[in-house]
Amino acid sequence: MDKLSVLWESTALAHFQPGQLVMMAVGLLLLYLAIVKKFEPLLLIPIGFGALLTNIPLAGFSEPGGLLYFIYEVGIDTGVFPLLIFMGVGAMTDFGALIANPRMLLLGAAAQFGIFATLFGAIALNLIPGFDFSLQDASAIAIIGGADGPTAIFLASKLAPELLGAIAVAAYSYMALVPIIQPPIMKALTTPEERKIEMAQLRPVSTREKILFPLAVLLLTILFLPSATPLVGMFCFGNLMRECGVVERLSKTAQNELINIVTIFLGLSVGSKLSSDKFLTVETLGILALGAAAFAIGTATGLLMAKLMSRLSGGKINPLIGAAGVSAVPMAARVVNKVGLQANPHNFLLMHAMGPNVAGVLGSAVAAGVLLALVG
């Protein structure tokens, strides 16, 4: 009989806590969304599976000595994984559309208002009993509005590690939901005539401009915002490898093998933060609500800025492209293209939307740098 009870004690059945079961269900939900609904599967599969593993009783994946514990400490606590991802994103990004029309940077800047408005909103939530966000927590939550996974994880790991799981899940879920969140806002803020505006073809951009561009971005960041140089520096490094044309092998590795390997580990370790004591709180609900607000506000301010630029330029700019300023590359640009085509079947806005889209990546990295410098 003794042996039986020892055997019973060594099964997970005897040790399941309700919270763990709920979190395993959350992990399964993420797997379902990724596999069936195709929502950001590259990230939600590792995150969902990490959530399953970390909630297994007795296995101790996320306790000191466990696999996910080490991966988290090595990759996310140090900030290494998000930065490596950012390097890969830099190697995948073509800045041609932005260099051809640099004023699009203003749209990328305007859309960052979503971040700072949400910061305000997160602090205001403290008025409701049950919420207790510090300025650091609020900044980490607000960066969800940057619609940039690695930036959000980097900032959250520096400012609010205990909220990282919820922030990462919110950031990636909303990025997957861009095609649902953005079109109603885009249609509400523009008139059908504005949506029909066709834009002039972009000028071709020389290789030399593309090589000098990341160096110029890096120089400006070094001079004015050193706290953003980890993000911007890795991004520019990746982009320079892509454009310089002499390290094809390194560039290919950065945008394929390396980013894939890091994505696996990043996803697993984010999933390991989905433990019931940290995720099943009222604060998670607040984070999910604030993330949606951040996205919506960023889309709206980008659109309004584009509307203003459209008026000032005498109707040469289609205001829809402002929505792409929230980054979420390349999903947001595709949504702009789709909505543009609905209004005018001959209007292909994809290349024009790529400009504000990549400007949004730079904008959110700069915003992250500002938050790190002022709050961190």
Partner: protein
């Protein structure tokens, strides 16, 4: 959290919002200037290869006249269209 603490935090968040947005705009506006300088530099000192590859870098496309199209480009496009049509026909007949 009591209301006073929240109010002071809100004031701080408000300042952050203004400072942050001003900084993001200033930074990216500076970058617009930077890109313009690079573009002007590249136009003034076009590299040897580039001036051969893309001779019309400074001339924006829309300003081109309709009947000024390079016959080589037209030839290339019609050849591409032909191949595309042929391959489509082949695929259709296969199916």
């Amino acid at each position: 959290m009591d209301a006073n603490a929240v109010t002071s935090l809100l004031a701080e968040a408000g300042t952050l919002m203004i400072v942050g947005m001003v900084f993001v705009f200033t930074f990216l506006t500076l970058l617009i200037g930077g890109i313009d300088v690079i573009a002007r530099f590249c136009r003034r000192f076009p590299g040897e290869q580039e001036s051969l590859d893309t001779p019309d870098i400074a001339a924006p496309r829309p300003q081109r006249n309709e009947n000024e199209h390079d016959p080589r480009i037209i030839a290339a496009i019609s050849a591409a269209v032909q191949t595309h049509r042929k391959s489509r026909q082949r695929r259709l007949t296969k199916e």
